[in-house]
């Protein structure tokens, strides 16, 4: 259900009126469908599953998660239930 990997958008184009992209998976490139991410731009990162982009991958959120986890390890009391 879940094999999705990060990929960087190198090019965006139309194929039979469907929004497609050329994706770089770290030295390996492949085509994927970008139809449900109209806001995606060249240079953005997405999660690709079975040749389809599920959603954008946010570097900012990734950094925030890591900072919050780092803080958690230092602080003794709980951070509460609002999540990271």
């Amino acid at each position: 259900m879940c094999l999705g990997v990060p990929g960087k958008i190198l090019e965006i184009y139309d194929s039979h009126s469907i929004r497609m992209a050329k994706i770089d998976f770290g030295g390996v490139t492949r085509e994927a469908c970008l139809e449900t991410l109209p806001e995606a731009r060249v240079g953005d990162y997405t999660i690709i599953h079975a040749g389809f982009a599920l959603n954008l991958l946010s570097e900012d959120e990734a950094n925030e998660t890591l900072s919050a986890l780092a803080e958690l390890s230092l602080i003794e009391h709980e951070l509460g239930s609002e999540g990271f």
Binding site: C2, G26, G27, V28, T29, R30, I48
Partner: protein, 355 residues
């Protein structure tokens, strides 16, 4: 007036009249008659000549060899025939040289049998023969006997090659999977999965592109360097079909030991890892055609590793694990986060997955 140059061509049954077919292989090329001889002279002998082949017998006669002999045979079926980094010719010579060399033997002679599909381009055949000649020269082996058969269109997938290799085993050489012993160090001569990914990309079915090249290469000189530095090496084996994981399992079972690997020490190219992540493959199960597993006593591990690193085919060599006594017949992987898992043999074929 009819001459050899204006005779009509025929499809179907073999015509006894020798026709000139320059572009593609036809049934007549496999009949053993003049056409076969012309093909042999024009394509095979042109690139593969040596005194033994030059005797032009049905057999190759070699000078006497005293001592034990290592013999290995292999058949090669691969799609596509030409891939980044090599072709079926280089693959067949390298594969057989390596199979002989892992016993510690010095590979000396190779034979090659070709089964060619009717319609196969002669130019492709020539390219493959040239490749075999180059690889044989690189390895220092001679091709001393060959055979050509032609199968009807559709009965063979373009070209199958069988190669047999013969090598001389120096005295006191005791190398084999059964000799892996607790306390030994496990080394690998370089990055894993290159050949598997290069061929998969070249096939085109999965639609991805990459710059990865096959690592196909004859390894007998590298092995020579390893054995000079580490004369008490216990095991040499190339992780071909089934990859590192399957091959190590074979060794663990042969020697009734446990082989414990450290995941973050195993060298895998970034692009190979990316392709594997995307498809759901594990690089440890991909085929390698130019890599060597080396299992040596701890005392010689440093020397063996250094010998590999100094050799052009061992630049990314690394120590990846150790041999222990238990749990015997098993390969275990220690993960970078401190956990562990079993590394089993490949069951069936690796297929791209969504789960």
């Amino acid at each position: 007036m009819l001459t050899n140059s204006n005779l009509p061509t025929f499809e179907g049954p073999v015509c006894p009249v020798p026709l000139i077919h320059n572009d593609v292989i036809v049934m007549g090329h496999g009949s053993g008659g003049r056409m076969t001889q012309e093909l042999v002279d024009r394509v095979f002998k042109k690139h593969l000549s040596n005194p033994i082949l030059g005797e032009a017998n049905d057999f190759g006669s070699v000078p006497s060899i005293s001592g034990r002999l290592a013999v290995s045979t292999d058949s090669h079926i691969i799609t596509p025939l030409f891939f980044p980094g090599g072709d079926i010719g280089k693959l067949s010579v390298s594969g057989t040289v390596n199979d002989v060399a892992v016993s510690g033997a010095v590979p000396l002679y190779i034979t090659a049998g070709f089964i060619i599909e009717e319609g196969f381009p002669v130019s492709d055949l020539e390219k493959i023969i040239i490749s075999m000649a180059e690889t044989a020269r690189e390895a220092g082996v001679q091709l001393i006997s060959g055979d050509t058969k032609v199968a009807e269109r559709g009965k063979v997938d373009k070209l199958f090659i069988n190669t047999t290799g013969l090598g001389w085993i120096p005295d006191n050489m005791q190398i084999g999977g059964q000799y892996a012993a607790p306390g030994d160090a496990g080394l690998i001569s370089g990055t894993l999965g290159d050949h598997g990914i290069a061929v998969l990309a070249a096939r085109g079915d999965l639609g991805f592109e990459t710059g990865i090249q096959s690592d196909v290469a004859p390894l007998n000189h590298l092995i020579g360097a390893i054995l000079s530095a580490a004369p008490h090496t216990h095991v040499l084996r190339d992780p071909t079909r089934g990859g590192l994981a399957t091959t190590l399992n074979e060794i663990a079972v042969q020697s009734h030991t446990a082989i414990v690997l450290e995941e973050d020490k195993i060298p895998v190219r970034r692009e190979v890892r990316s392709a594997c992540d995307m498809l759901g493959f594990d690089p440890l199960y991909l085929a390698n055609e130019g890599k060597m597993i080396v299992i040596v006593p701890e005392a010689e591990a440093g020397a063996a590793l250094e010998a590999m690193l100094l050799h052009p085919l061992g630049q990314f060599a690394a120590r990846i694990g150790t041999v222990q006594s238990t749990p015997h017949d098993r390969v275990l992987m220690q993960t970078p986060i401190g956990g562990s898992r079993i590394l089993d043999v490949l069951a069936g074929e690796m297929l791209p997955r969504i789960c």
